[in-house]
């Protein structure tokens, strides 16, 4: 592993990740990617440490990824499944977390359907003065940092396998397409991509990217970029870059605008280097946010034909699980020339090994 200084004790959000932190994760993950190509894919790094997967929301993919990452670091794992737990007996979430703390857990990987739960657990651990680390594995519609970091790693290793680093994305055009409103994956990706200097184009139907919400995103990202001082009513119009059939694209007056929002797919795809598709929850249909899956696919589904708008070597990502023929056409998903979906899953193990290693190795 690269010797590095890592000071972050919890990984809850990418909003305040530094360039150095991104690069440390990318380089550490690259080292583990190498370990995973060996015959014996195990290292003794976290021997004797306990990683508890506290999944208050059901999950197979992410839980398995963290579990195999922990096992390959030789950690012991505990799986908590909400369905058979004390939660149903009226225990609070913080009490559950403190129970796992008291059992000797070193790292808690937390998923919950409500935003802020991992933060609340981390705050409680800090208040108690204990050395347990909390890793957010997806909280409500807030953030999913490990997913965004594995997306970043997947893209960066494609550009430079020997030395993945944040600056490789500078100036790249990256489209994020789909259910922006409800996506914790999109939220985390926006932070990492903006930090990299990429041009980020969000595309969604207006129901999944309402104007108020679009203004909120621009405010949040823009406000951070320019410091708190520039936040204000007047600045919003400057950064609101929306293209739609009824209202033409508004161009920002900022020197280098990085975040663009579209109610149509085409301007987002135009000359894009990468297209990140988001999972469409079928529940959105019943909430009348979408007319039909077929219409969604027609307007915002990614197909070979639509990809012709992008750069010739464009690649498509999806966090999974995919609704084939909805977010992305079935044949495209299976085409290794365009799809990075399998690489994302493989990167996921390496990136999660890196995150557990960075959090765990400081506990010596």
């Amino acid at each position: 592993m690269p010797t590095t200084t890592w000071n972050r004790h919890h990984i809850l959000s990418l909003a305040d990740f530094t360039t150095t932190e991104y690069d440390t994760v990318l380089q550490t993950a690259a080292s583990f990617q190498e370990v995973l190509s060996r015959r014996t894919k195990k290292v003794p790094t976290l021997q004797g440490q306990v990683v508890a997967n506290l999944f208050f929301e059901p999950s197979t993919r992410t839980r398995s990824s963290f579990e195999i990452a922990a096992k390959r670091l030789s950690a012991d794992t505990l799986n908590f499944a909400a369905a058979t737990s004390s939660i149903t007996k009226g225990e609070t979430i913080l009490d559950t977390a403190k129970t796992y703390l008291a059992m000797g857990t070193d790292i808690m990987v937390v998923r919950h359907r409500e935003a802020g739960v991992p933060n609340a657990i981390a705050a409680e651990m800090d208040r108690l003065g204990v050395r347990v680390s909390v890793l957010n594995a997806g909280d409500g519609q807030h953030e999913h940092p490990s997913q965004a970091l594995l997306d970043l790693f997947t893209i960066c290793t494609l550009i430079d396998p020997a030395s993945p680093r944040l600056e490789l994305l500078k100036g790249k055009k990256i489209a994020i397409v789909g259910d922006i409103l409800h996506s914790r994956v999109a939220r985390s990706n926006i932070w990492s991509l903006i930090a990299s200097g990429a041009q980020v184009h969000l595309a969604a139907p207006p129901t999944l990217l309402p104007k108020l919400f679009a203004e909120y995103i621009l405010e949040e990202v823009g406000g951070k970029e320019q410091g708190a001082g520039s936040r204000g009513q007047g600045a919003k119009g400057d950064k609101l870059i929306l293209s739609s059939p009824s209202s033409p694209t508004l161009h920002s007056r900022l020197p280098t605008p990085q975040l663009f929002l579209h109610w149509q797919l085409e301007p987002a795809l135009q000359n894009a280097d990468f297209v990140m598709t988001l999972r469409l929850q079928k529940e959105r249909m019943t909430a009348h946010l979408l007319p039909s899956l077929r219409e969604y696919h027609q307007l915002f589904g990614i197909t070979r034909t639509k990809l012709q708008l992008c750069k010739p070597k464009v690649k498509v990502l999806h966090p999974g699980p995919v609704n084939r023929g909805v977010e992305i056409s079935s044949d495209l998903m299976d085409d290794p020339e365009f799809s990075l979906i399998q690489s994302q899953v493989t990167s996921g193990v390496a990136v999660r090994m890196a995150l557990l290693y960075l959090l765990g190795s400081g506990k010596a």
Copy 2:
């Protein structure tokens, strides 16, 4: 372990298993049986490899058996439970399998309520050109190879503990009693027993062994034995060996008929060396395939009295879980003089270690 040449990449069915393959499994399992008698029952054979138990159908017994087998080979295990999985999120089974592939799984142990799912996953893995092995842990009413192999091992080690091999069963009479129609266990057992040269007698009520289905079995097995050329309408009658109150037993005109079908229990038990009972799904009752469990037990349940028809040293097998007093009388099940049921479970771990070893050790 015996040094051996093992070329099979997946274990999906016993239909095309060769004598050499059967004997390799039996000898390898015998070596592991010896390991299991030691104080430290672990070997480092599959260290660093990942065995994923993809159980789309709930199971405790088979999953635990594979899990402990994998752990004793020092593999890391991942358990996939359909209930809490992405399957409910609309992901296809092949996409789930590919996700576990991308996470670095070396061997997938697959159970599904639909026949052919393990084959479909194996075909997809081969299409992708990856080295992952698929092991069928029961697919619908199709096959359950590891169960039949552990049955085989249990019987062969009883006859010759030092050197279990297929030829030991030559000429033995083995009755398979129960719900033939719905049993994947019976199907896999028929292949291995026919291959061994045993005389296989199936006994079931007509509802659980309908005439058309009986003809299908005879066709399939007979057709294979004589090569594809002899398959045909005319040959069927020759092999249809059914005994029932209304239609007397038809004797085959083949030189050495091996498969006999009965609608009564008695002719199957007559001079039998082994009796394999099958689990009766209580759901069959509601489907009006059986009058009552009591009547089933009276006609086809195995008791001490009925065993007097068999050879004096007859042994009884059951794949479990047993409905006591239905397929087999409760006292008989617990009598070590007749029951091999516990030996089967123990053999199961050794045989599954052998299968995982044979599939996994080629991946170096």
Copy 3:
């Protein structure tokens, strides 16, 4: 580990635990507590052995505690979850246990909602002449020995961290407050505390400590203390020490009465050294055993104000999960000056390692 002679093959109940056995558990747990303070919290003691958690009743806390204890002893673990098991397929509990036996399980940790199930499994294992150990992890309203032992360890290490032993509790006043009637935790604690020479004061509303039941407890404990010969109708009145608004406290005529029962909280708390609260199952409400949680808290909930009746350094225990503001006020639960709740969970891992070690190391 201390070299010791440990002859008990199963841990099912504390009713017949000897002082030597208590002290052996306490000393062994203290050794493991030390292991748990190291960076690498693992010892190879049970390498190659299999610990099966047979939890027929859902549990997270106790199962996780046993699981991490087993893993830190380097044992392999199997988890059995009743929901996805053969139990639903009609298999008997003993057959399930025998299946895990046949798979090579060395120690079975059993929880069941019916009293006596672990005993029945242990009796069956003994009948079969096998060396498998059974550890009761909670059976109905009967016993929960590992919980009582961890409570004991928590208290004793507080008094003398270097050398926890049973005699430290001699003469201490310990209140057990709450749903005595339904509590397996209370039952096991009564045995260990009486054995230690402590003064045990049970306090509960009459619905949760009915007179007949109170007489039964006194009979059982008193009968044992004096040998079977003194059990009888006449002796009961002598030991019935009940205080209630309507009937004043009855003082025993025994030389050193140790067990006192109260229908009010205050006399139990008066000068108490330790207060053990019990979890209140909310189901008791619907059974009309309690007027409301609020009223319960007012009368029997532990608060700072009520603790002023106790000794100044009083400590409060709870087996968890806690209903905050019901059995104990929320702020008190989090106050390390009074609450031992987190210590109990930590002790739990050390004590369970000790129990698995004592059962498992004899199997060499």
